[in-house]
């Protein structure tokens, strides 16, 4: 057992690193849908925007200045993009949920194509900032320092989001409106402002995740879909609108993606689907989903 | 007295601490014309949902024609002969009047499992008859969206009857109907054969006393009294129980759908 653990330590750590990224992505996706009923299929494209931003600022040599600048710009771009998306989906608010999802799908096609026009179709790699670019010894294995830092960032962010949602008045608003969509307007709060804020923060998490993920995944066409689907699987497994669910789901899918692919490379895709199927058969609304969705 | 068609034994439904339906025991014999009355929030509509299976019971058993159906899903109970109209219109809004009734009729008469178009002569004949009965034959080709509120209620009844039910549950069928339309409804239900057992929830007491031969009064989820309409009208217990909310609420409650609670 210990031997097995030892030989797969790198895969397990990779799983945690992927899980960290997935959590950051999924929590945005999950809260946007849970609160605003908008399934944002452009979430993956926003991740890719962040990744290419990181490449733009770091390709001439990874510096902390460049990295932090990329994070800052990505956060701004994400907030703006969320605002634009919220304005774009507003006319569709009274139409079926599918229409809003299709709109974001169209947006994601456009964004991905524009990115490939600007940056070409080659896979680009991005260096980690100095000090994190090397490998360090961890439990007797050499492991990239940046990925360890990523795991740390993911954990810190998870704690922050959890405290905000569970312990603050803003969080109370989030929880109330996930449980009952009418709640926001019933409390006399301008629904549109909340929507702009929620979509802005959700999109910001996606672009920031793109920058954070760039030293691991780089930037390439198609990465947006891969990431979007993993994040969706996390949300489905964890349950819509649940921070705890997004966290557990991200950990599980991170391990399936990393450890699963390392140990059983041929059937990893089946494991992913199998995990999804198992959870949904046992808990149709996800592990921590609302007992009852509004309107059902 | 024949054996009861519908038999409820200790049926309860709790929402947290709220007992919407609390230990209801009730027998409805075959061929009955039975009314459920009570003020808003008495648990009438919830009780219907427990009978149809659209909501699971917290406790108790529901028996239909001697078969325990408590654990059966809604669509299986429907096939055993339970049919209903809902308090709020529940129709297929993008389709025509005729198609709405046909969907119900083809399950009994037609080749519902056919993957190629069929004439469905038997089902269509039944649809024609039902539309004439409820007075919608001139509207057969209209989309539901074009119907008035009263016409939708009539269509609800036609859809429910097209299932050829043994037990017909009518949840406020006359709500929003004009006097002429509700008179027609009363005629229609009166003309139903004795093989169809009818349970009706209705606020319009004219309709209730025109149709019902037995009445159950529900109050706060519990059965207050079951008896003939005369017994219920005369009952001191019923009158007394309602003093708190005013006896008018029992006999003159004609609140529209907007004022209705969970029911």
């Amino acid at each position: 057992m210990i031997e097995w653990f030892d030989s797969n330590l790198v895969s397990i750590l990779n799983g945690f690193a992927i899980g960290s990224l997935l959590f950051i992505l999924a929590v945005g996706l999950s809260i946007v849908f849970g609160m605003m009923d908008v399934l944002n299929l452009a979430h993956g494209a926003l991740f890719l925007v962040g990744a290419y931003l990181a490449w733009s600022l770091l390709s001439d040599g990874a510096t902390w200045g460049g990295f932090l600048a990329a994070l800052g710009i990505a956060a701004l771009v994400g907030l703006l993009a969320g605002g634009v998306l919220s304005v774009m989906t507003e006319p569709l608010a009274r139409r079926p949920i599918l229409d809003q999802a299709l709109l974001t799908l169209g947006v994601s096609l456009v964004v991905a194509e524009v990115l490939s026009i600007v940056y070409g179709n080659d896979a680009l790699s991005v260096g980690a900032p100095p000090g994190l670019a090397e490998s360090v010894s961890f439990l007797g294995r050499s492991y990239p320092a940046y990925r360890l830092a990523l795991i740390g960032v993911g954990l810190v962010l998870a704690v922050v989001v959890y405290v905000v949602v569970e312990r603050t008045s803003v969080g109370a608003l989030v929880r109330a409106s996930v449980a009952d969509r009418e709640m926001v307007s019933a409390m006399g709060i301008d629904n549109r402002k909340v929507k702009v804020a929620v979509l802005g923060i959700g999109s910001m998490l996606a672009t920031v995740a793109g920058v954070l993920g760039a030293p691991v995944y780089g930037a390439r066409p198609g990465l947006d879909d891969t990431i979007l689907i993993l994040a969706l699987v996390v949300v489905v497994i964890g349950g819509l609108g649940s921070v705890k669910g997004a966290f557990i789901g991200a950990l599980v899918i991170g391990q399936v993606e990393s450890l699963g692919r390392a140990v059983l490379p041929d059937v990893a895709s089946f494991i992913l689907f199998g995990t999804l199927a198992l959870v949904l058969v046992l808990r149709p609304r996800g592990l921590f989903g609302p007992r009852k969705l509004a309107g059902t | 007295m024949t054996a009861p068609l519908l038999s409820l034994s200790g049926v309860s439904r709790h929402f947290g601490a709220l007992k919407a339906v609390d230990d209801v025991t009730l027998d409805v014999p075959t061929g009955a014309r039975h009314a459920l009355i009570g003020p808003n929030g008495a648990g009438k509509s919830t009780l219907f949902k427990l009978v149809t299976g659209s909501m699971p019971v917290s406790a108790g058993t529901v028996t239909l024609g001697g078969t325990d159906v408590t654990g059966l899903p809604e669509h299986v109970r429907a096939r055993l002969g339970i049919s209903q109209t809902l308090q709020h219109s529940s129709l297929f809004t993008t389709q025509t009047v005729e198609q709405n009734v046909l969907l119900a009729a083809q399950r009994r008469h037609g080749s519902r499992a056919s993957l190629v178009p069929r004439r469905q002569a038997a089902a269509r004949e039944r649809v024609d008859g039902l539309l004439a009965d409820v007075g919608l034959d001139h509207r057969r080709g209209s989309p539901v969206a074009d119907l008035s509120h009263g016409e939708r209620r009539q269509l609800e009844v036609a859809v429910a009857l097209a299932c050829e039910p043994r037990l017909l549950l009518l949840d406020e069928p006359a709500a929003g109907m004009s006097p002429a339309e509700s008179a027609r409804l009363v005629e229609l239900v009166r003309a139903l054969p004795e093989t169809v057992t009818v349970v009706i929830v209705e606020h319009d007491l004219d309709v209730v006393f025109a149709l019902a031969r037995s009445v159950t009064v529900l109050h706060l989820g519990r059965v207050l009294l079951t008896g003939t309409p005369e017994q219920v009208r005369a009952s001191d217990a019923v009158q007394e129980a309602y003093l708190g909310t005013g006896r008018e609420s029992l006999f003159t409650d004609t609140a529209g759908p907007a004022a209705l609670g969970v029911g």
């Binding site: 879909d225 949904l280 | 389709q95």
Partner: protein, 341 residues
């Protein structure tokens, strides 16, 4: 989106001479289109004929998706999975066993149906956005399988060396003959979907789309019907995939990918969900922009399609069929006012 289907369905079964006349009249455009399509290889250049064939293949795929999206109300984002499964199966059988066209189409249909049956039992249990997400996940997993199982699928290089399709033992080497074969299968596939949509089961599916709880209270098991629709749609998507393989003779993972499924959904939305014929037009627009216009746009057809997608959601909530539906609604209203004095 329903007005046309609703109208024809409503009057469809009532006996009477006028009805038969109306049905015949309605069949006229279909026959004209069919004759034009059949004559195309005599008129068009080989390249244009091939593009037309691609349109037919993609149209059949889009129409199979319309059975789910428009008729049953199940928006699937992962339908390309079954298209891909059909394409790979037909390609592999053609290389290793036989390239007899009828066999290829049948095994592709079977493969699509089996894949849909295996994954649909889970997807169909969910509804709304959950269905959207689940089908997306299933689609992506199939896509990943096509790249990871490279011993079978050729990996990211794709499956190449597919021999020319044969009919009755004769290889069809000319583009025109291949086109006719594609056209024949398209017509059969479209007819099958059309019949299902007009059948009693089709009525039940529309009922589920409009009001699933009510269908349950009428005694129908929605799961069973949705599952059947899912498997039929999967089978026809498989057929379309098989046609793709024998026409293009190269199958790459992107055939099973997210973009393929998204473009099919675009074709359905653009054409008008639920009308079946609308998505055929939608598919024509999509393929023309991607394949014919694409090269002049330096391969950035998807950019145009993305913009079309966004515009279509705003401007054409009922697609091309919705435009036709407006005139039908006007006629109906006129008829209604005439009836009530």
């Amino acid at each position: 989106m329903e007005s046309i289907v609703a109208d024809t369905g409503a009057t469809g079964g009532r006996p009477g001479g006028g009805r038969r006349h109306a049905t015949l009249l309605r069949a006229v455009p279909a026959v004209v289109v069919l004759v034009l399509l059949a004559a195309a290889p005599f008129v068009l250049a080989p390249f244009a004929t091939t593009v037309l064939g691609r349109i037919l293949v993609f149209a059949l795929f889009a129409v199979s998706l319309d059975l789910l999206v428009g008729v049953t109300g199940l928006p699937s984002l992962g339908h390309a999975a079954y298209f891909g499964v059909g394409a790979y199966t037909a390609g592999i059988v053609a290389i290793d066993v036989t390239s007899e066209g009828v066999v290829l189409v049948l095994v592709a249909a079977l493969a699509g149906a089996v894949a849909a049956a295996a994954t649909g039992w889970l997807a169909v249990r969910s509804s709304g956005v959950f269905f959207l997400m689940l089908t997306l996940a299933v689609g992506e997993i199939v896509f990943q399988l096509t790249t990871t199982l490279d011993s079978v699928t050729g990996g990211s290089n794709g499956l190449y060396g597919i021999p020319a399709v044969r009919v009755g033992g004769t290889a069809l080497t000319l583009a025109g003959y291949v086109y006719w074969f594609v056209l024949a299968v398209f017509v059969l596939g479209f007819a099958a979907l059309w019949l299902v949509s007009r059948s009693p089961v089709g009525g039940v599916l529309r009922g589920i789309r409009d009001n699933e709880p009510r269908m349950r209270s009428l005694g129908y098991s929605p799961f069973r019907y949705k599952y059947v629709a899912f498997v039929i749609a999967g089978a026809l998507a498989g057929v379309a995939g098989g046609l793709f393989a024998l026409q293009v003779r190269l199958v790459t993972p992107s055939e099973a990918g997210f973009t393929t499924g998204a473009l099919a959904l675009l074709a359905v939305i653009l054409g008008g969900a639920g009308s079946l014929w609308g998505p055929v037009l939608g598919a024509a627009v999509v393929v023309l922009v991607r394949d014919a216009l694409g090269p002049t746009l330096e391969g950035h057809g998807p950019l145009v399609l993305g913009i079309v997608f966004v515009l279509a959601v705003y401007l054409l909530p009922r697609g091309f069929a919705g435009l036709a539906g407006i005139s039908a609604a006007v006629q109906r209203r006129r008829a209604a006012t005439r009836r009530t004095p």
